[in-house]
């Protein structure tokens, strides 16, 4: 899977590169408008991470160009300007998603994975992890071919874990992913929530993959 990171802030693009590369993506970086135009023109990417304010031009122009060239690359806009106008214009120009800065890398990764899944023409909506199988089309989860009943939030949580497997996910990243920005500070309620999910998975015969990392968060790993 090839990802292009269009971001002029070097420290940020490096972070993204490190995180995504660990998830078996190959990352390419463009730090300015001209490089970005060149790279998008000559290569096909599974997903492009696009910062809108670039030295030399606007990310929206690149988006227009992609659309004109009928490129199928998935596009995730990452912008410091959490502006509704930009979001609507970006999505209208064919971007797949919009993620305002600052974001959690785990969130970015989950969004990229979702875009790539959607772009997959093979109709491959199944994510497998050992005996665990998630059908993202029907939003159903199977353990050893046995359907387990999850609430909407539990399903989202599991998908988030699986998208970021083997990575430490902080509690506030989870809280933000599931409940949006409104909840802050005390994340005790996440514990209850994860306990429920864990119990359902274990009851269905799956090994406990959700590891609690003391003081930091959780990790989904075998």
């Amino acid at each position: 899977m090839k990802i292009l990171i269009i971001e002029d802030e070097k420290a940020l693009s490096e972070s993204i590169d490190t995180y995504l590369s660990a998830q078996e993506y190959t990352c390419d970086i463009a730090e300015d408008f001209a490089t970005a135009v060149e790279k998008t023109e000559y290569n096909d990417y599974d997903c492009i991470l696009l910062d809108l304010s670039l030295p030399g031009g606007s990310g929206l122009t690149i988006l227009e160009q992609l659309k004109e060239d009928k490129k199928q690359d998935g596009v995730l806009i990452i912008s410091a300007k959490d502006s509704l106008d930009d979001k609507i214009r970006g999505l209208n120009l064919g971007a797949d998603d919009y993620l305002p800065k600052p974001f959690h890398l785990s969130e970015l990764n989950a969004r990229v994975a979702a875009i790539i899944r959607r772009k997959n023409f093979d109709g491959n909506n199944i994510i497998e992890f050992h005996a665990l199988k998630i059908d993202t089309q029907n939003k159903s989860v199977f353990v050893n071919h046995q359907n387990i009943d999850l609430t909407k939030k539990e399903y989202e949580l599991l998908l988030y874990f699986v998208s970021n497997k083997k990575r430490l996910i902080s509690k506030d990243a989870i809280a933000e992913h599931l409940w949006g920005n409104e909840m802050s500070g005390n994340f005790d309620f996440i514990y209850t929530h994860i306990k429920n999910l864990r119990k359902k998975l274990i009851d269905a015969g799956e090994v406990d993959y959700i590891k609690s990392v003391y003081g930091m968060g959780y990790k989904f790993t075998d």
Partner: protein, 419 residues
Amino acid sequence: MKLLAKYNRVNIPITIITLFISSIAFYFILHYVLVYQLDKDLMIEQQEILHFVKENNSLPEASDYRDQQILFHETKLNTFETKFSTAESYIKSEDEAESFRKLEFFVTANGENYIAEVIKSQQETEDIVQLILIITLSVIVFLLLVLFLVNRFILGKIWKPFYNTLAQLKQFNLSSKNRIVFQKTGIDEFTELNKTALLLIEKVTMDYESLKNFTENASHEIQTPLSIIKTKLELLSQSESLDDAQVQAIKAINTATSRLAKLNQSLLLLTKIENRQFMETEAVNISMIISQYLENFEELAEAKNIRIQRNMKDEVIINMNESLAGILISNIISNAIKHNLDNGTIEIKLSENELIVSNTGITPLKKTTQLFERFQKDSASGDSLGLGLAIVKKICEMSGFLVSYNYVNNLHSIEVRFS
């Protein structure tokens, strides 16, 4: 006190006193002049009598007319000083007292000494003086009436542009884009006032705009370094070789960074609302939005074992900005959950006119109205930024709603009136 009232308070007594004093003065002067005139006439009469006596060496005939009498009395005196006097006598035919002016003088005829009296009626003089007094008093009354009417109508009209300007200034709202247009006035002072007010407004608006732009730009600029901190921290926490102290440090930095990010986000949101970036309105189904957020926060309420009572009308449609509606509802509901007690309750009442969300919680230490101000929070807990209610208030302001926060019967309740 109104300027007009103040002005009248000084003007009217002074007018009355002035008119009164001048009437009295006028009365005496007029009276003096008329009596002087009468005395002159009496002296002419005296000259004629003396002339007659000198020519004929006998007295003229006494006469008794209504307005003039001439009488002679013999006297033993050898000399008598000429004197004027005023007397009153009763006139039978007219049944009233009349005043007379009398001149007495010494005359000698045929070797006999006489005192001559010439008496003239002073009634006409009195009548004139009285008439003038009545006229003056009428003038006072008339003048007061005119003054009153002038103040009431003309002055009111003249001051109208001033009150107009005042009303416009009262309605002036920095965050509203409505421009103030003052009515043209023909009065220099008011034109000057309007010009100055406009200049002031322009300057204030410009300062406000640049402050808002600064806030928005600053908030945007903060996002990128925050992103770097956040992502680097996330990468750092992936490391397997962290010791306990490092974990604690990362945790603390993470909490602080999240807090900073949320603070910045909330400030940015407030600035954006103020900058009118959420102006498009549409018919928004409030009932549906509330249900969506209740569902979204279900687990959070469950974690605290909070009982939620819904008393909501379906399909309550309000014309407002859709994004703001979502932010408003999610802020109110998440507040009701966050600041609730374990095993507490939340009651949500929704009708076409209002939304009331009441919840149990600890007794507020501050006045509930204060909590609408930015960075006013009741608890020292790190969970709260103190911006949630400020955002609620700002959204209500922008949408034309009335919002209030009360603490009654151990219940915190936020009340939003849509109309």
